[in-house]
């Protein structure tokens, strides 16, 4: 035995085979059961209806037969009632009773004697002519030929007697009857106020006869049939009378016909004794309507409580005369068969149906098993093949030869497997290729990064170094590749720098916060400004590692999804640059000093040579007047020199001040012009001034003057001593623009982009340092302004120096103003 699919690892799971068998069973059993049930129900219904209709027909037929029996008995009895002798005798008695002269004593006497059972009286009534006639009729003497009274009818006759118009006994066959009957219902009914009427009395127990009887009372009409002159009363034993007819009708084991009256009292039944009521009172109204029919009742009337089919029919003629009229009672036949017997065929059918059903189910199960096996085996093969494909182990084609969709499916599986294999092979090649490409890319990136002279480090979010390029390795003397080393273990930073870096990294690329810092830091340090150590470290993107200073930049590198971004850190060694810049500033200072010294020398030379010349004249001069004149000139020259020296010292004095003060920009410009004139030959230069007034700016006046001096010197140099110099200030919004325009040859386009570069100059060797504009721009930017150069070739250059206007009015007057006024004097 192979293992069943239900013994799979998951116990609750039903295998395909079980499901197929169950489906087949369900598909088979449900219609089978429904069909059998319906057939059974329909069969029962039909049996019920057919039985009911048969019972009804039988009941009707039986009723007709019994009715005829009664009618025949009535007609037999009626023969007696029509006998002329009897009629004449009773007419005579009627007339005698009507005779007013007659005495009632004789009748009373006879009654008394009859009650006493006096033999003479007995004989007078049982032995008279009429009684003999009754006997003769009873014996069938007057019956028509061939119409002899049946023995049973004769035997069932218990009493037969005649009464007169007053109900008194006239003649009787037996000695049982009472003498007077005028109060008896049957007598009243039959006599019917002398009109006369057939009266059939319902079944009752007769004490004298000691049996259940029914009676037929017929009026004896006079010869004219005008009125009743007496009553003929016939007492019949019900059981004896009806049983030959009812008991003969039997069908099956229990099926029979019985006769009941409208009260449900049994008149004749093969099973129940005569005179007993039906066991179920509720049944009576169902089976005693005035028309034939059948009913499905909840009891059978014979003591059984099972559902019964009962046919019934009234006896029409008999019922019409029962108790005088049909309203007072009626007789009915009752046809019944026990339901066990009635439904035996259907029970039989059910049994057989169940047997056949069981056989069908067994067939279904076995066929289902075979069919399921045929379906499931290839499916399971396919499942195993799919598993093999999943593991990539399927080598041989799947062998399924069912010749249906499953075979097609297996073929498709095989083809799919082949295609998958081919696809995988191609995919592997591609992956190899791509991997090589990636490796090459990585190597080239590494080489590029290694070739970059600046140190570059890649760190992850936890500051663990992932990559170090060659420059960094060299710079930080790292020999072996460090794995999982922290950034700060490689870079020997002080605490402040570490904190600054960590804080910046944590900003998570919040460029809005970092950008201003970086931008500000990209501006090189003002070389004219002394370095202050109390400047906050966070504002510099510079790191001091060992003895060297590095400018650093960092950026985020996206990594694989789900991981935190890496950080790239680029360091630039600015130690040399920083030193060079300091040297530059120094050189500029020295240059300026040289120019200044030359200017001073020039200024001082003139009076000095004057003094020397005058002194030489004085050596040979005798004329006192001339000597005095020369002396006065010497004093004048000396004073002029003193003034020059004082001015120079005035300039250097203010070098120390580093607090911006509010001064009118025009004053600074004028001062600068004066200074420039001392150093540059501007005798033939026409100066135009167009000032907007006294525009206050917050600056270090000496530095601003230095900037103006540089610009003015440039302008003067450009004009080579002759031309027009235009100075103007224009106020707009919050800015004052100072323009210094010359009429020189201008700057060529190729030089215009370089004019702010340090050491760029168009002058001859020794004439300029190449730092003038650079310094001027740095000064302007230091005070929140800028310098712009506008140039039209051959038509001159215009330098615009923009500065923010100082809106605070507190420092309009100051030492500088005094100094200006002083210089002018």
């Amino acid at each position: 035995m192979t293992t069943t699919p239900t013994s799979s690892p998951s116990g609750a799971r039903w295998g395909l085979k079980t499901k197929v068998i169950l489906s087949m069973l369900l598909v088979g059993i449900v219609p089978l059961v429904v069909g059998l049930g319906m057939a059974f129900w329909q069969g029962s219904q039909e049996i019920r209806e057919i039985s009911g209709e048969s019972f009804e027909a039988l009941a009707t037929e039986a009723a007709r037969k019994l009715d005829l029996l009664v009618v025949e008995e009535i007609s037999h009895t009626a023969r007696i009632a029509h006998d002329p002798t009897i009629i004449r005798e009773l007419e005579r008695r009627r007339d005698a009773l009507r005779d007013p002269k007659r005495s009632t004593a004789a009748a009373t006497d006879l009654e008394q004697r009859w009650k006493r059972r006096d033999p003479a009286a007995m004989t007078s009534l049982t032995g008279n002519t009429l009684s003999a006639l009754l006997h003769e009729y009873y014996a069938g003497v007057y019956s028509a030929p061939g119409q002899l009274l049946p023995q049973v009818v004769r035997a069932s006759t218990k009493m037969l007697f005649l009464t007169d118009v007053q109900g008194a006994l006239v003649a009787t066959m037996t000695d049982h009857p009472a003498f007077r009957h005028h109060d008896a219902p049957w007598w009243k009914g039959a006599f019917n106020k002398a009109v006369g009427k057939l009266y059939i009395e319902d079944i009752h127990f007769d004490d004298q006869m000691n049996t259940y009887v029914f009676t037929i009372s017929l009026p004896i009409m006079d010869s004219l049939r005008y009125e009743a002159v007496g009553v003929l009363h016939h007492v019949i034993d019900a059981k004896e009378f009806f049983s030959p007819s009812t008991h003969a009708i039997r069908f099956g084991k229990t099926g029979h016909v019985m006769l009941i009256d409208s009260r449900g009292i049994v008149i004749s039944c093969p099973i129940l004794p005569t005179g007993v009521p039906l066991s179920d009172r509720n049944l009576t109204p169902l089976v005693t309507p005035q028309h034939p029919g059948w009913v499905e009742a909840s009891s059978d009337g014979h003591g059984g409580q099972s559902t019964s089919v009962i046919g019934f029919a009234p006896l029409p003629e008999t019922s019409r005369a029962t108790n005088g009229s049909i309203d007072n009672g009626s007789w009915h036949t009752f046809v019944w068969q026990s339901s066990d017997e009635l439904f035996a065929p259907i029970q039989h059918l059910l049994t057989w149906v169940m047997v056949f059903g069981a056989v069908a189910i067994m067939l279904l199960v076995s066929l289902g098993y075979v069919a399921a096996g045929r379906i499931v085996t290839p499916v399971r093969q396919l499942q195993q093949a799919a598993q093999a494909i999943g593991r990539g182990e399927l080598q041989t084609p799947i062998q399924i030869n069912t010749g249906d969709e499953l075979e097609d499916l297996a073929r498709e599986f095989t083809r799919m497997n082949a295609q998958l294999k081919a696809a995988f092979a191609g995919l592997t090649d591609q992956v190899k290729l791509k991997t090589q490409e990636v490796q090459v890319l990585q190597q080239s990136t590494d080489q590029i990064l290694d070739a970059v002279p600046t140190p570059i480090l890649l760190i992850d979010a936890h500051h663990v170094v992932r990559y170090i390029n060659q420059a960094a390795r060299d710079a930080f003397t790292i020999q072996t590749p460090l794995l999982n080393a922290s950034l700060f273990s490689i870079l020997s930073l002080d605490q402040d720098d570490q904190k600054q870096l960590q804080a910046e990294f944590k900003m998570n690329g919040n460029t809005a916060a970092t950008l201003p810092n970086i931008e500000r830091q990209t501006v090189p340090r003002d070389p004219l400004r002394p370095r202050t150590d109390h400047e906050p470290a966070g504002h510099r993107s510079e790191l001091t590692i060992g003895s060297r200073i590095y400018h650093y930049q960092w950026f985020r590198l996206p990594t694989k999804p789900g991981e935190e971004d890496s950080i790239g850190l680029v360091l630039r060694d600015i130690t040399d640059e920083s030193r060079l810049q300091d040297k530059l500033v120094q050189a500029e200072k020295m240059g300026s000093l040289g120019v200044l010294t030359a200017g001073i020398g020039h200024e001082l030379n003139n009076p000095l040579f004057g003094i020397i010349g005058l002194g030489e004249i004085l050596q040979d001069e005798q004329d006192l007047e001339h000597i005095k004149s020369c002396a006065q000139d010497i004093v004048a020259h000396g004073r002029r020199m003193a003034t020059i020296i004082r001015d120079f010292t005035g300039v250097t004095d203010r070098e120390a001040s580093d607090t911006p003060v509010s001064v009118p920009v025009e004053d600074v410009l004028d001062k600068a012009l004066a200074t420039a004139q001392t150093s540059v030959d501007m005798k033939d230069v026409v100066i135009h001034k167009s000032y907007a007034g006294k525009t206050p700016v917050s600056v270090l006046p000496d530095q601003l003057r230095q900037a103006f001096v540089n610009l003015l010197t440039n302008a003067a140099h450009a004009m080579k001593g002759t031309g027009t110099l235009t100075l103007s200030t224009v106020v707009s919004d919050h800015t004052v623009t100072t323009t210094i325009a010359d009429s020189g040859p201008g700057i060529s386009k190729q030089h215009l982009s370089k004019v702010f570069d340090p050491f760029f100059t168009t002058k001859e060797q020794g004439e300029g340092s190449g730092l003038g504009l650079t310094v001027a721009r740095r000064i302007a930017r230091k005070f929140g302004g800028d310098i712009r150069i506008e140039c039209v070739e051959d038509r001159g250059t215009a330098c615009h120096l923009m500065l923010p206007i100082n809106t605070s009015t507190s420092s309009t007057g100051g030492p500088w103003t005094t100094s200006v006024s002083h210089s002018k004097s």
Binding site: D95, K193, R225, Y226, H291, P314, P316
Partner: protein, 197 residues
């Protein structure tokens, strides 16, 4: 007021009764010496006219109409079947009611070929009368008959098949001895019996 009205009514009634008695007495006194009566033939004619009219009306306007409209048929077993009585039954049952009323007058249907033997002619007179009526159906046969000491006037009128119902029933009833009746045939007679005392 009420007492007065009551007294007035009593007096009025008493007066009316007295007058009635006086008239009745006078009438009796007047009839006694010279008895003036209606001839029994007349009485029988009256009765027969009524019977005929009643039965004709019943037949044509009740039985036929209801039967034509399919509402209710008339059958012999009308009591059991909840139908209308046949016209012949109508006459017989009304005759029974008349007899039971005790007025003395009786009538019944008789015939030579009755479905039920009780409707056969009972006496020689009836037999002869039917025989006469077969030939001369237009006039009744009348006569005085007696039962014991009692004397009766009997008038027997011919009875025709007035409607198809009569013919159909008699021709198809299993107990009918004659089954070739036609419409308007004399099927028998109506015997009216009036006691003479």
């Amino acid at each position: 007021m009420d007492h007065l009205r009551f007294a007035f009514q009593v007096i009025t009634i008493a007066f009316l009764l007295g007058e009635f008695w006086t008239v009745a007495t006078l009438h009796a006194a007047k009839e006694n010496p010279t008895p003036v009566g209606i001839a029994p033939e007349k009485v029988a004619d009256y009765i027969h006219a009524i019977l005929e009219a009643d039965r004709t009306f019943y037949t044509s306007h009740i039985v036929n109409r209801l039967q034509e409209k399919g509402i209710l048929a008339s059958t012999e077993q009308w009591e059991q079947e909840n139908t209308l009585p046949l016209p012949a039954q109508f006459l017989q049952h009304s005759g029974r009611l008349v007899a039971e009323s005790g007025s003395g007058i009786r009538y019944r249907l008789i015939g030579f070929s009755p479905i039920y033997q009780r409707n056969a002619p009972a006496t020689e007179f009836e037999r002869k009368a039917l025989d006469v009526l077969r030939r001369k159906p237009d006039r009744p046969v009348t006569g005085i008959v007696s039962s014991g000491k009692k004397q009766y006037f009997q008038a027997i009128y011919s009875d025709r098949a007035v409607s198809s119902a009569c013919v159909t029933c008699h021709n198809s009833h299993p107990l009918s001895p004659k089954q070739n009746f036609k419409l308007n045939d004399v099927m028998g007679g109506i015997a009216i019996t009036i006691p003479l005392e």
